[in-house]
């Protein structure tokens, strides 16, 4: 979607102000929010792209007004409702009106699950990659209302294939709960000036990972 999250190259956000002595969390609730979102994801009821879409699919004014972990929490509350796992009333009250709907990731399974992760490469099932390193490709003008991992700043731009990563789960369908559909994934490198004009360095480049259906 042409959402508030797609901000590469946008102006007006101000200085970065890195804090070299920053703590890992800024409030106790942030600790709980991080752990809760990771733990709930471990129950396997939604994909990483469903959780991304739940965060980005909102009013821009709200998106920009939320801190990072607030956005995680609002996204989680949204997911629970769109997946039919909890109602707005249950979320508001904290009181479950139904029996358990899932089997949680047990405490003694957390470390193995975190260390295992969720690999996203899939068997290409005989499909060969359409592009090879060195090929020039153009990014298609795709503007779906749903989830897509193609930043607007590369739309219609031409770049060079700089790596073939393998056949990876496709975010556009993963955002609808599909863990299997996969397409060839490429690293595509663009001249920074093609993307951002004279403000970019003459020799600078931007490399973006893009799936085959995004390219022509």
């Amino acid at each position: 979607m042409n959402g508030p999250h797609d901000i590469g190259g946008r102006d007006g956000f101000g200085p970065i102000n890195p804090d070299p002595d920053e703590p890992l969390f800024h409030a106790p609730w942030e600790r709980h929010a991080m752990a809760m979102v990771v733990a709930a994801g471990g129950a396997g009821k939604w994909t990483i792209d469903e959780s991304r879409f739940a965060r980005e699919n909102r009013d821009p004014a709200e998106y920009y007004g939320l801190s990072y972990y607030q956005l995680w929490l609002r996204g989680l509350e949204q997911l629970l409702q769109t997946k039919g796992l909890a109602t707005a009333e249950e979320i508001a009250s904290g009181q479950a009106a139904t029996a358990p709907v899932a089997t949680p990731l047990a405490a003694d399974q957390v470390v193995p699950a975190l260390m295992r992760g969720s690999p996203y490469d899939r068997d290409p099932q005989g499909r060969a990659p359409a592009f090879a390193v060195g090929d020039r490709v153009r990014v298609r003008n795709l503007q779906p209302r749903g989830h897509i991992r193609m930043p607007a700043y590369v739309r219609n731009q031409t770049g060079t294939i700089t790596a073939v990563h393998g056949c990876h789960v496709f975010p556009d369908t993963s955002a609808k709960g599909d863990r299997d559909t996969a397409h060839w994934l490429y690293n595509v490198t663009f001249a920074a000036r093609d993307l951002f004009g004279e403000r970019a360095g003459e020799k600078d480049e931007v490399s973006v990972d893009l799936w085959e259906p995004y390219l022509e």
Partner: protein, 200 residues
């Protein structure tokens, strides 16, 4: 910190909201409350940028390992025992005098947790996400890094599940150092590309 000016007035609301949600998730069978402590212990005490520093120090010390890292960073890093969530697929990008690498996720906050731990606030902030791709030299300047004009910058936007780890250049005058001493020269930011190794 940037963009959290609203946090303080909402702290109590947010705490209440988190506690209500935590209870609901437990009652729904979506979380085991005891699992939260294990997750926090993992990212507060076990998985962090010291993992990445070990990878970099070994790459500086062992040419065969450096080559393995270039060829297949996922396997080379997994073989060091650094695997898992948000590190399932990794590419190592090596800084040279000709090219400096900088990593961002413009669309959200993708970051190589398995080797760097949880991302700092600035990495997740809208100013960094917006500007790293279009004006990386100005961004680096805000981190106190000035590159020679002859060094090109390649920015890596983490749009897929491939994570990027910058291998900074080994500082001059460190020829005699062992891996453990070298590790101490490798900051978190130098592995994102917003610092140079050996810088204070």
């Amino acid at each position: 910190m940037p963009h959290d000016h609203h946090d303080h007035s909402h702290l109590d609301d947010e705490t209440a909201r988190v506690m209500a949600l935590e209870k609901l998730l437990a009652d729904k069978g979506l979380i085991d409350p005891a699992a939260l402590d294990v997750i926090l212990d993992t990212y507060e005490t076990k998985v962090g940028p010291r993992n990445g520093a070990k990878v970099v120090a070994r790459a500086w010390s062992d040419p065969d390992f450096a080559q393995a890292l270039k060829d297949d960073a996922t396997t080379a890093i997994h073989d060091m025992g650094f695997a898992g969530r948000q590190g399932e697929h990794i590419t190592a990008v090596f800084n040279t005098p000709e090219q400096h690498n900088l990593v961002v996720c413009t669309l959200c906050s993708c970051y190589p947790w398995s080797v760097l731990g949880l991302p700092p606030t600035w990495y997740k902030s809208t100013p960094y996400r917006a500007r790293a791709v279009s004006e990386p030299r100005a961004v680096l300047g805000e981190f106190g890094v000035t590159l020679p004009d002859s060094t090109a910058i390649r920015v890596w936007d983490s749009t897929a599940e491939m994570r990027y780890l910058v291998i900074p250049m080994r500082p001059e005058g460190t020829e005699g150092l062992g891996e453990e001493e070298l590790e101490a020269l490798v900051s978190r930011d130098s592995m994102i590309g917003t610092a140079l190794a050996g810088a204070a």
